[in-house]
């Protein structure tokens, strides 16, 4: 799932072939209820956010209230990829390969400022936001986000899953890396990775 590459669907086009009737809506409710309450996370824990992720999985902030205590370290059984921590360029092909190897339906949570936008690391080695590598559903701000913040992100994802329908094939598209070797068009990546805030004039070293 994730952002469709082609941007917003133009108005007036026929969105889904099967019009929602009594059967599909009941079926949607059933599958979404099942999927929402048993999201098996693939904890792609790289840095400090991974420690907060472990803290939220431990007994005080217990993730198993959301049915998420079963950590699946192999992408084959994973439903939601939680990128907890900063992502250097050396790790970009790894997360891309793991995301491709996860079966549909799959979602992605970008936990922490470094995963969502490169955070304080506007350097030669840091991906400025993992949405330039994989499609992301929920961004959790914070450095590191408190366990409550992560859980709020998870409940947002669950609301998003509630709104999905089986009839729409567009939701379950695989957004692969294009033939020119990029996930998003080049100008889009440069626009996303543009330094902002005080990162703009930080290059004065003396």
């Amino acid at each position: 799932m994730g952002l469709t590459v082609s941007g917003a669907v133009p108005e007036g086009t026929e969105v889904s072939s099967i019009s929602p009737n009594w059967v599909t809506t009941k079926l949607d409710f059933l599958t979404n209820w099942a999927r929402k309450n048993s999201l098996w996370p693939m904890p792609f824990g790289t840095a400090c956010c991974a420690i907060e992720f472990m803290a939220s999985a431990a007994s005080r902030f217990d993730l198993s209230r959301f049915g998420m205590e079963r950590m699946s370290f192999s992408p084959r059984q994973a439903d939601v990829l939680i990128c907890a921590g900063r992502l250097p360029f050396k790790l970009a092909p790894v997360i891309r390969r793991i995301w491709d190897q996860m079966p549909q339906p799959k979602w992605a949570i970008s936990m922490g400022a470094c995963a969502s936008s490169g955070g304080i690391f506007d350097t030669y080695t840091m991906v400025q936001g993992i949405d330039t590598i994989i499609p992301v559903d929920v961004y959790v701000p914070g450095c590191p986000p408190r366990p409550e913040g992560l859980m709020y992100g998870i409940t947002l994802l669950q609301k998003k899953i509630e709104g999905e329908t089986i009839a729409d094939p567009d939701l379950r598209q695989e957004h692969l890396v294009g033939e020119h070797g990029l996930f998003l068009p080049a100008n889009r990546i440069d626009e996303i990775s543009e330094p902002f805030g005080n990162s703009v004039h930080q290059t004065r070293s003396a």
Partner: protein, 209 residues
């Protein structure tokens, strides 16, 4: 900092008397003694410092390099030595002229801990270590083509645009993830695509040099 002779380590006098001209100069900064050694006899001096019964600097605390902001000042390779029984510290520096190729003798035969430290200095500064068993990049991936990041002429965000950096990262193929040694162990040489085999044959592995 005044070069107060009180905190000057006795090793400096012993070094001067043993190596004479090879010890270019010494100084004291914030209580630590610094000795500058010439590049040719550096390995010999370090071996002497380690094996000499009166010195016994058997613990290599750190090995790094420093490049100053003004261009004509030399790039320094810094050895931080410590003797565990004598609880004494000493900082040995080798100055390298930036215009000439940066090559230093490796000290992996003296201290095994220097293996990864030297690989990191090579990766970050481009200083080659003669005699190092496996001098490869350690922090960046092997086919990293942007140069050596910690040099002062290397921009903070890297040379290429973010899109180009992402494309290079995403198109990393097995040759960037595995070292030559592992490729040969897995006998996977035939499976690599032809252009990669060609690059391997020429030995050009993203080494800007």
């Amino acid at each position: 900092m005044t070069a107060s002779t009180a905190s000057l380590s006795p090793s400096v006098a012993a070094l001067r008397e043993k190596f004479g001209a090879a010890i270019t100069r010494h100084a004291v900064s914030c209580g630590d003694t610094i000795v500058h050694v010439s590049n040719e006899r550096a390995h010999e001096a370090l071996a002497w410092l380690r094996d000499e019964p009166t010195q016994r600097f058997d613990y290599l605390t750190d090995l790094t390099a420093v490049e100053y902001r003004d261009v004509e000042r030399a790039l320094e390779v810094v050895y931080q030595l410590r003797s565990i029984e004598r609880k004494a510290d000493l900082r040995v520096k080798i100055e390298l002229d930036k215009t000439a190729p940066l090559v230093v003798d490796s000290v992996v035969d003296l201290w095994k801990g220097a293996d990864w430290l030297e690989r990191e200095v090579y990766d970050m500064f481009g200083v080659r270590f003669r005699g190092h068993p496996d001098l490869r990049r350690i922090l960046m991936w092997d086919t990293y083509a942007e140069g050596h990041p910690l040099r002062k002429d290397f921009p903070l965000r890297g040379h290429f645009s973010r899109a180009e950096q992402t494309r290079q990262a995403l198109s990393a193929n097995p040759e960037a993830q595995y070292s030559l040694e592992e490729l040969s162990i897995a006998e996977a040489y035939e499976e690599l695509p032809a252009d990669m085999r060609e690059r391997l044959r020429r030995g050009e592995r993203g080494d800007v040099g």
